[in-house]
C-alpha cells in the first residue's frame, strides 16, 4: 500500500509484546470455549492467516491438540467491489473442515471499520452454520462503521482516522511489530 506522505514510524507493539499478547489471546480462547474440542480458527487473508497459524501453535503448546485451521478470502464478499480503484486480487478460500456446529474464531490483524469482518461473516455463512462466530484481532484501532465488536483484542490502539496501522510479520519477511503512521494531508 503506497501512502502519499508518511511521517515517522511509531512502534506500538514490538515482537515481544506481540508474542505475549498472542499467548494471552490463546488462553482467552481456551477459557471462553472451555477447551478446544469444538474450536476452529479461520484466518482472514492475508495477515490473519499467519496470526491464526501462530494461535494454533500456541494452543497446541497449551492443550497438546491441533485445532482446525482455515483460510478465508473475503474479496468476493466486499461491499466496495464496485467502487474500488484497483482490482483486488482474489486468492483461495481454504477451509478443509465442516464449520457446521463449531465455534469458529475469525482471526484478523487490524479491526478498523468492521467491513472486512462483515464480509467474512457473510462468507462463513455460505460455507455452513457455525454454532458461534467469535472474533480475535491483534489490534483494535476504533472508527467502526458497523456494529461489530471483537471477543479477543490484542491491544486497543487509539488512532485518528487518517492514521495507518500496519502489522509487520516475520512470515512476510519483516521484523514482528505493529506500527502507527500519522499521515499528513498532502497540501494541494
Amino acid at each position: 500500500m503506497v501512502q502519499p506522505q508518511r511521517s515517522h514510524e511509531l512502534v506500538v507493539m514490538d515482537g515481544h509484546d506481540m508474542a505475549r499478547v498472542l499467548t494471552r489471546v490463546a488462553h482467552e480462547i481456551l477459557e471462553r470455549n472451555k477447551g478446544c474440542q469444538n474450536v476452529a480458527l479461520v484466518g482472514i487473508r492475508t495477515g490473519g492467516i499467519y496470526l491464526a497459524q501462530r494461535l494454533q501453535g500456541l494452543i497446541r503448546h497449551i492443550e497438546q491438540t491441533d485445532v482446525c485451521l482455515g483460510e478465508l478470502d473475503i474479496t468476493l464478499y466486499r461491499d466496495d467491489l464496485a467502487i474500488r480503484k484497483n482490482q483486488p486480487v482474489l486468492k483461495k478460500t481454504d477451509i478443509p473442515f465442516d464449520i457446521a456446529n463449531r465455534n469458529v474464531v475469525l482471526v484478523d490483524d487490524v479491526l478498523f471499520t468492521g467491513r472486512t469482518i462483515r464480509a467474512a461473516m457473510d462468507g462463513l455463512a455460505d460455507l455452513g452454520r457455525p454454532s458461534e462466530i467469535q472474533l480475535a484481532v491483534l489490534v483494535d484501532r476504533g472508527h467502526r462503521q458497523l456494529p461489530i465488536r471483537a471477543n479477543y483484542v490484542g491491544k486497543n490502539v487509539p488512532t485518528s482516522e487518517d492514521d495507518t496501522i500496519r502489522v509487520f510479520l516475520e512470515e512476510l519477511g519483516e521484523r514482528d511489530r505493529v506500527s502507527r503512521f500519522t499521515n499528513r494531508k498532502t497540501p494541494s
Binding site: 478470502d73 474479496t75 464478499y77 467491489l81 483486488p88 482474489l90 478460500t93 455460505d126 460455507l127
Partner: protein
C-alpha cells in the same frame, strides 16, 4: 498487472501475460463450485445476457452457471424466440439489451467477427462464446487450465490438435493460446481440413495421425462436424474414423502420461474410440468443470474493470 479490457473477443489479441493473469484469477473460483452453497455475491445486481445464435448446451449452461454462481441475473436469448426471427439486426438487438441496462453480453454467432462488431458498438462487456470459424476463447482458456492442473505447466509441452483444423474455432483459439504460452503445437488431419494460414501460428502440420502422436504430452481431439458430411471434405465417416480416429493403439504412441482432451460433444466411435474417451488419460469432464471456473473468473475480471 491487471486485466483492463472491456471484452474478451479472442486470444489472438491477448498477450501471454494477460492469458496467464486470467488463468490465475480463475483458479480460486474452482473451490466455490465444490461448496454446499455454490454462490458468492461478487456480481450481485449485474445482468448478463446470453445471446446464442447457434445451438449450444454445454457452453450456454456453463456461462449461465458461472454468472449465477457469482449472483448475477442471467437472461437467455435465442433467435428462434426473439425479434431476430422478425428480422431485427444483431446491432439493434444488442442496443436494446444495452438500453435495458444489462452489464455483459455473451454471444455465440455463426459469423466470424460478430462479437467484435458488437463490442465496438456497445459500452457493455462482450464475451465471445464462439464466432464462426474464428475463435472460442473461453474453451481454450479452460483447456489451458486443465493442462496446467494436470501437467503443472504449459511451456515446452508437445500438444497435438487432431481433426478439422480449418473449420474449428476451438483449434484456432487453442493454437493462439498454446503457442503464446510456449507449448510446441502440432496439428493433424486430412489435407482438406487444413487451413492455408498455419505457418503464421508456427505449428507443425501432419497428415498422418500416427506420426503426429509420437511422444506428445497432450492430445486435443476435435469434434468431427458431421453436418459437413457430403461437403467433399472427407469421403465417409468410416474412412475418417479409420484414418483419424483416436484409438487405444494410437494412444500408445504418445507419452505414457498423455492427457486426452475433447471440447465436446463427443462423437464416440468416430473421432475418439469409446474406451479412449473413458480411459484414465481422458480429462474431458475435468475440462467441463474448469469451464465454469474460467468463466466465473473472466466475468469477475470484466465486471471489475474501471471505466476511465
Amino acid at each position: 498487472m491487471s486485466f483492463q479490457r472491456k471484452d474478451l473477443l479472442g486470444l489472438g489479441s491477448l498477450t501471454s501475460e494477460e492469458i496467464a493473469f486470467i488463468l490465475k484469477a480463475a483458479e480460486p473460483f474452482k473451490e466455490i463450485s465444490g461448496r454446499e452453497i455454490k454462490k458468492v455475491p461478487a456480481l450481485r445486481g449485474k445482468t448478463v445476457v446470453n445471446l446464442f445464435f447457434e445451438p449450444s448446451t454445454r457452453t450456454r449452461t456453463s456461462f449461465e452457471l458461472a454468472a449465477k454462481r457469482l449472483s448475477a441475473d442471467v437472461v437467455n436469448m435465442s433467435p428462434s424466440s426473439s425479434s431476430v426471427a422478425k428480422g431485427e439486426t444483431l446491432l439493434d438487438t444488442a442496443r436494446n439489451i444495452e438500453s435495458m441496462k444489462a452489464d455483459m453480453i455473451v454471444i455465440r454467432h455463426s459469423s466470424a467477427g460478430a462479437a467484435e462488431i458488437l463490442a465496438r458498438q456497445v459500452r457493455l462487456s462482450v464475451i465471445n462464446a464462439g464466432d464462426g470459424w474464428h475463435e472460442h476463447p473461453t474453451q481454450a482458456l479452460l483447456d489451458l487450465m486443465t493442462i496446467q492442473e494436470n501437467k503443472g505447466h504449459v511451456r515446452d509441452l508437445r500438444v497435438a490438435i487432431v481433426g478439422d483444423i480449418a473449420h474449428s474455432r476451438v483449434a484456432r483459439s487453442n493454437m493462439h493460446a498454446l503457442t503464446k504460452m510456449g507449448a510446441k503445437v502440432r496439428v493433424a488431419g486430412p489435407p482438406t481440413m487444413m487451413p492455408p494460414y498455419l505457418h503464421r501460428f508456427g505449428v507443425e502440420v501432419y497428415y498422418h495421425l500416427d506420426e503426429a502422436l509420437a511422444d506428445v504430452d497432450v492430445i486435443i481431439v476435435l469434434r468431427l462436424q458431421l453436418e459437413r458430411q457430403g461437403s467433399s471434405l472427407f469421403p465417409s465417416i468410416r474412412e475418417y474414423a479409420r484414418l483419424y480416429g483416436l484409438t487405444a493403439a494410437r494412444v500408445k504412441r504418445a507419452a505414457r502420461d498423455v492427457l486426452i482432451m475433447h471440447p465436446g460433444p463427443v462423437n464416440r466411435g468416430i473421432e475418439i474410440a469409446h474406451d479412449v474417451a473413458d480411459s484414465e488419460a481422458a480429462v474431458i469432464l475435468d475440462q467441463v468443470s474448469n469451464g465454469v471456473a474460467v468463466r466465473m473468473g473472466l466475468m469477475y475480471l470484466l465486471a471489475q474493470r474501471r471505466e476511465s
